[in-house]
Structures are given as structure tokens and as C-alpha cells.
Amino acid sequence: MLELQAITKHWRTPGGAVCVLLKDLNLQVPQGQTVALLGPSGSGKSTLLKIIAGLEATDAGQVLFDAQDITHLPPEQRKFALMFQDFALFPHLDVQDNVAFGLVEQGQRRALARVQAVAMLQRFGLGAHTQARVWQLSGGEQQRVALARALITAPRLLLLDEPFSALDADLRHSLRAEFLERIAASGMAVVWVTHDETEARSVGQQGFRLVDGGLVREW
């Protein structure tokens, strides 16, 4: 289970002033549950995800996972997966190498990692695109590649930063159902950041709104 305890984060404005972005923020995400985080742009949702992933440091507070303090653990040792708003697919790698990236980093041989990646891509309906470059794919296909890349290493926690914001409404709706199915099958805990309340209610067992640096429970 993920647990955030009194997380505080400051933000320096371009003018040099220091503002509070997150203040004494607490959150618990039980195993197998999806928690939706709502909030307007600039409220600190993405920063919070980066703090959980280990990509940003906190100014105060603790990040715990399964009761272990991981606040100062570097991101590669947390075994979480973060899916970015813009997908962050690697343009110099083809689709299968994008998906195999995490496996190679776990020490798996590249050839074997590719085999696993191709199998994963086939399950995601992308078997015909394994050797394509990522920019040759449509938005929905890129989204699936990003999810396949995140899930292939069987992370302990999945962090999704507005995963559908770059897609049109129809595609967003159909992909959301597909995503939920695949995430449910993996059985992992998920933190799903979005500014769309309809989306948040359809994906999260719990929902929180980020207000003035703290979380307010919505459901």
C-alpha cells in the first residue's frame, strides 16, 4: 500500500518568490485500488505524481510503500511506473524497443526482452507495429504503447498523469474502458491524475480533489 504522510512542497515563481504547492498532504492507496486525483492546472497534481515516482524531492513529509520509507529512494529502485501526459515515448527507438526498455533496465537480455515486448504488443493489438517508429503511430496507438511499456515490468504501482488528455473524446472513451480492463487484470494500485471529473468518477474507487495544497475527499 502507498502512503503519503504530511507531504510538503514549495514552488519558486519566475519572480523568485517561494509559494506552497503541497502542504501537509496525506493519502493512502490500498493494493488493487485506483485513486483518482482531481484538480485544476497548476494545482500540483503532476508534481505529486513525480514525488511518488521519486522524480521530485519533497521539502517535508514521507512516502511509504508497504510500510517502508521510500522518500529518498531513487526512481529506478521504486519499481513504480509513470505514464506521462505526452506519453514520453522514445523517438529514437522502435515500438518494441520502447516497450522492452524497462525489461532491459531490469537486467534482462535484449533479445529476450524484445520477445516479451512483442508478445505484450500483440495482446494490446499492436502486433503489426512492433518495428514501427513511434511517430508513425496514431495517438491511440501511442497511448497503448505507453501503457504496454508501463505494465510490462509488472510495477508495484501505476501512476497515470492525465493519460487521455491528448486524445479526442471518442478515442478517450473507448481507450478508458480498455485501460481499466487491463489495469484490473494486473491487480496493482493506481494513482490516476485527471482534471476531468467524469473520467475520475468512472475510474477511481476513491476520488480526491487537490485544493490549496491539500487533498479533499470527493467520494
Binding site: K9, H10, W11, R12, V18, K50, A53, G54, L55, E56, A57, T58, D59, H72, P74, P75, E76, K79, F80, A81, L82, F84, Q85, D86, F87, A88, L89, F90, P91, H92, F101, G102, E105, Q106, V134, W135, Q142, R149, A150, T153, L159
Partner: protein, 542 residues
Amino acid sequence: MPNASRPTFLRSPHWLALAPLAFLLVMLVAPVLRLVGEGLSGDAGSGLDMVSGGLGGSAWLQPWLDPYLRWRLMWSALQAAITCGVVLLLGVPVAWVLARYEFVGRRWLLRALMLPFVVPTLVAAMGVLALLGPQGLWARVGGAPLQDTPVLLLYGNVFFNLCVLVRSATDALEQVSAARLAAARTLGATPWRAFWRIEWPAILPWLMSALCLVFLFCFAGFGMALVLGGQQYATVEVEIFTLVAYELQLGAASVLALWTLAITGACALVYSVLERRLATPLRSDRIARRVPCGAGQWLALAGALSVLLLFCLAPIAAIVLRAVMAGAQSWAVLWEPETLQALGNTLRFSGAALLLATALGLCHALAARHWAALRALAFLPLVVSPVLVAFGLLLLYPSWTASVPLLIAAYALLAYPFVAKSVASGLDGLPANLQAAARSLGASPWRAFWRVTWPLLLPALRRGMAFAAATAVGEFAVTLFLSRPEWATLSTLIYQHLGRPGAANLDAALVLACALMALALAVFLLIEWPGSDPANPEGHHA
């Protein structure tokens, strides 16, 4: 505070700055300070007295009190200002055509506009001579003699700098908002009024920035002014060289160098302020290019191409033509032992300098990613002219001036800003989340750099290396100051042939210039082959 608590792996690798900073300190800052010290010291006066016939007043004011030196300074500024005016008048219409019209070969033409950046200064000067010189093509068709007029130098300046302005203005025009232009047209503005009221204000800061560079290049130019300026129209850089190399008046040269530094420094300051203002995100609502239709538009395209042909291609074509016309006897110079030795020296010095420049440029760019002041320091070697660098080194390290390591280090100093600037731009262009994505997928900082950042950075590195290599291959001023006769490079060999009497020597110089141009181009293409970026051939981002 937030920054203080950032994890180590997210901080910039500032320690990488140690090598380039130490290098800049030893090779640039210390020599320039020595030069300034020499200029401000009383010793300078004695030298100047010899030039001016003994004038009173402070030593550092002497260049403005002496009519001969005052003319040198003022002419240097004047020819730079005239060049700015000419390239502005010619360049803006050409850039507008390139930015607004789509035509076959447009991309190649934009690539070809890089050519003057690759052609060595001395080769360009030879090109101007081959075209407009006393035995050039212009004279052969009965044109009025242009020798001993400022036309040769100004034409050479335009050859080098028209492309600077055209490229900058083309980029600027491509950033103009299509919506704003459309709004202006619907509000009743004619195309001409829309240009003046919408496009011109938008591109003006870019033009000013490009003009600063043009002024800097022309004011501090050496090779071109040495060959084309003659006695009357040589610039202050040539005067400094003459005072040091032929008249051994180091004091007088230092005072002139001081003023040159002040003027180029002021120009660089204006440039850096303007550059900072230009650091805005790229527009997405660009104006779509259209195929020219109607006689007027085709005429505009033909006019733009003619200007580029006349000012950017003609000297290169002339040098090739004159070298071919020189006959087989002149081409034999290529196999002379002296030439082969010069070729060997050119490759040896350039190769070593390129390696050093690449290492320094990479370190500088990586360290300066989130450190604006450090990034600005990479421009220093471009602000201080090669003549001043060499002169400063001569003063500071007199016992080292005829050593290969110092020569190579000086080459690297001039070349490494290209690597640093290109890699820094490459780093800026990397999508923000890729490194973080790699980290969240289990890659350590080093692995994330090696597997994600490095492959994406390679095209920018290659581009920077290509310019650095072309700069090193064509280097002239520093070699003239710091090398021994047996270390002659192709550049200095061309200059030696030019200094010898007779048409045969001029022909030999033209053939050598042709060979040097081919070498610079080959080295450039070898590193920056004009293929697509394997990571992203169409500039798309995932």
C-alpha cells in the same frame, strides 16, 4: 528551500564545467587580461609615439588622437555598418520569398545557405579576387577596375553575412502568427501594409540580433580584410597584425586591441540581450507556404534566387572556374612536397583540435543546461577575434608560442563554441519527460543518459562538430601568429603564394584555395551528412 533539497541525480552536472572553465581561463581570459594590462600600461605609449610621431595624452586614447589609427578604427566600424545596411536591404526580401513560397529545391537551398559558414575566410577572399580582382572574371569581361576600392572588401563581407541574415529572417518569418496576419487582412490591410504592421515588428528583434552578429564578424574580420582591404581599406585587426608581426610594436597593438575588445564586447552584449528576448516558444499557427502563381510571384522568386546566386554562389563558382582556367601546370602545385606537408599539418592540427573541441563543447553544454551564465560563456571565443586571442597568447606565453599543443589548443578554442552551442540547443529541444520516463522505467541516471539522451543528442553533436571541423580546417589568423614556417597549413600556404610575385603564384593560390574549399566541405559533409535524423526524420515528436 526547494532547490536545496533536490535529489542529487536531478541536479545539473556542474562539475563538468571545470574543464571548459579552466580552458577558457588559460586560453582566453588570462591572455585577454594580459592584453588589456599591456594596453593600459605606460609601455603602450612608446609604441604609439612611433606610429603617430609622438602625441601627448593618455596612452589608451592615442588611437583616437592619431589620424592614421583613427581612420583604421572608424573604417572598421564603417565597413561593418555598410555591410549591415546592404545585407538588410538584400536579405529581408530574399528571406520573405524563402519563408512564404514553396518551390522545388527549397530545402536544399536553405541547406546551401550554410555554405558560406563552411568556406574558409581566405578561400572566400580568393573567390572575391577570382571574381572581381585585377585578373578576375569581371576584369576579363571589361568591367571597371575595382582594385584599391572598398568594393572588394564590402562584397566579401556581404558574401559571408548575407546568409546569416537570410537564415535568421527566414526563421523569424516562419514564426509569424498566421492568425494575426489573417486578422490584419480582414481588417483591411493590404499585403504590403500587413507586412509593415504585423510581420516587420515581429521579425525586427531577430533582424537586430542577426545584424549584431554581422557587425561583429565584419568589425573583427581579419582574413578578408588582409587580402581584400589593401593599404587603404584594411581594418583594425589587420593593423594589429601588422604592428605585431612586422613592426614589433606590441604596446601600440595592445591599445588598438583594447578598443577593438571594447567595441566587440559592447556589440556582443547587445546581441546577448536581444537573444534572450528571442527565447520564446515556437508558434504552432505558422503561415502555410504556397507555390508561386502569377508573373509577379515568379519574378520575386527569380529575383531572390538571383541575389543569392550573385552574392553567395558567384565567388565560389569563380574560384572553381579560375582554378580550372589556370591549366594543368598550376594544378601540379597539389603534388608539391610543400603542399602535401601543409595538407598533413591541416589535417593533423584540425583533427586534434576537433577532438579537444568536442570534449570541451560537450562538457560545457551538459554543465550549462540549467546555468544561463555558463551558457553565455561559450560565446566568449566568438566575441574575441582570433587575432586578439593569438596576440594575447603571444604576450602571456612567449616561450610557448611556437608549440604544437598551444596551436592546437587555440584551434580548439575557436572551434568549441560551435559544439557547445549546438549540443545546448539539442538539449533544449529534448522532450522534457523522456529522461524522467527512463528513470521511472528503472534506468539509473547514467543509463538514462546513455540510452535516451545521448542517441537523441547525436545529430546536434554531429552538426556542432561539422562546424567546428570546418572552422579548424580553414583557420588562418591564429596559425599566422603562432605557427612555425614548417607548420604551414593550407591556409597559410595560400597566403604565402599570394605574397609571391607572378601570375603563376596567383594561379597556384587559386588551385590551393579550391582544394581547401573542397577539403572543408568534405570534412563538413563527412560529419554532418545531409541525411535525415534517424530518431526523427520529419521533426515529429512522440
